[in-house]
């Protein structure tokens, strides 16, 4: 029953993302004259595919934001509070779906898809596999600290929450009016020299130009890091000896009390004999 509810929730989330996605991936078209100044050979070869300028403000979008924020926070709380590991992983998946939708609202469409693929797809499958290996609910999920420790920890968290919210709410955006409106299109060099192509903010092409331009070195470093992580994970998770799995619980033969008593009696007898 719970599993059915979870699946239903996930399907509803997916449907909602599907419903709002086309309204979100929007770029603000710039007049071609703005691009032309300075260089006479420059011309715009391609307009942004979505130029209908739908913006993600208004009450409906605010309601969607609150809904997905609730899904995110609820999933995160589910992770932290559940004793059943599978339930925690499912809460995590729901949390990631909510985060993905929030990324869409930030016009980060590529990152939203990556979030779904990498986190909700790959990493959570990894977690589910490990849960299958462990498959043992905790005896006592929460660390038993004293009343003073709990009070101190709670106070610290409340202080952190208040402080963070107080600070973040004061963040001054450079241009408050663009807070949630569609961002301006990104201008990239076109296919031929002297042309400019406009692509959506946060699209694959825009992110790719940044990733393979200024971020090329980091990209290569990340590939090396992933290779090292894969080799390291195999090296750590592999048993040290071939038969270690069978010996992980050392074999203690059951005590044979009769034989021990006989041996003790024999020892006593022999020592007594010597005395």
């Amino acid at each position: 029953m719970k599993v059915l509810l979870l699946i239903l929730t996930m399907l509803l989330t997916l449907g909602a993302i599907d419903a709002i996605a086309p309204q979100l991936a929007v770029a603000d078209p710039i007049p071609a004259q703005a691009v032309n100044k300075g260089r006479t050979t420059t011309k715009v070869v391609k307009r942004s595919p979505h130029s209908d300028k739908i913006e993600s403000n208004g009450k409906g979008m605010a309601l969607l934001f609150w809904a997905f924020a609730a899904a995110t926070i609820g999933g995160a709380l589910f992770v932290v509070t559940r004793r059943n590991l599978i339930a925690a992983v499912m809460g995590m998946v729901g949390c990631f779906l909510g985060i993905s939708a929030v990324y869409m609202m930030l016009y980060a469409s590529f990152l939203a898809v990556i979030q779904m693929l990498v986190y909700a797809g790959a990493i959570m499958v990894l977690f589910v596999f490990v849960v299958m290996i462990l498959n043992r609910p905790e005896d006592e999920p929460v660390a038993p600290t004293g009343r003073a420790g709990k009070a101190l920890g709670g106070l610290a968290i409340v202080y952190l929450v208040g402080r963070l919210i107080f600070m973040l709410m004061k963040v001054q955006p450079p241009n408050p009016l663009t807070a949630i409106n569609a961002p301006a299109a990104v201008e990239l060099p076109g296919d031929t020299v002297g042309t400019i192509e406009r692509v959506d903010w946060g699209s694959v092409k825009a992110v790719g130009w940044d990733l393979f331009g200024p971020g090329l070195f980091v990209f290569e470093a990340i590939s090396l890091l992933l290779l090292i992580a894969v080799v390291g994970a195999i090296a750590i998770a592999r048993p040290l000896h071939e038969d270690q799995d069978n010996q992980s619980e050392p074999f203690h033969p059951p005590r044979d009390e009769a034989a021990e008593a006989a041996a003790a009696a024999a020892a006593a007898a022999s020592s007594g004999g010597h005395a």
Binding site: A76, V80, L106, A108, A143, M169, D210
Partner: protein, 106 residues
């Protein structure tokens, strides 16, 4: 009040990320299962990612997206190695309770 409710701005995303980060922190501090602790760390990384994307959107700078992508890759590597350690610990001890992993204490 209705301004906060119906006028979603950058602050909303930042506060959402902060709350997510704090839930992750609480999970790391409170829970004893190493798997749940790893998941809470993932939550914290996601909160940082959300902040990165919000500021990228705020300043109109796409390098925040690149940074978030790299954070996701690092998180994947961290999850792989962390889960391998969890499996190795479980193989030797038959539990993954971090309060009972006291071999390196003293």
């Amino acid at each position: 009040m209705s301004d906060i409710l119906f006028n979603v701005g950058y602050g909303h995303f930042l506060v959402l990320a902060a709350v997510l980060f704090l839930i992750g922190t609480a999970g790391v501090m409170i829970r004893r299962n190493a798997l749940i602790i790893l998941m809470s760390v993932e939550l914290m990384l996601n909160a940082a990612n959300m902040t990165l994307l919000t500021f990228a959107r705020m300043w109109g700078d796409l390098s925040g997206h690149t940074f978030a992508l790299i954070v996701i890759a690092v998180a994947a590597a961290e999850a792989a190695v962390g889960l391998a350690i969890v499996v190795a610990v479980f193989r030797g001890r038959r539990n993954v309770d971090v309060d009972r992993l006291t071999t390196l204490r003293h």
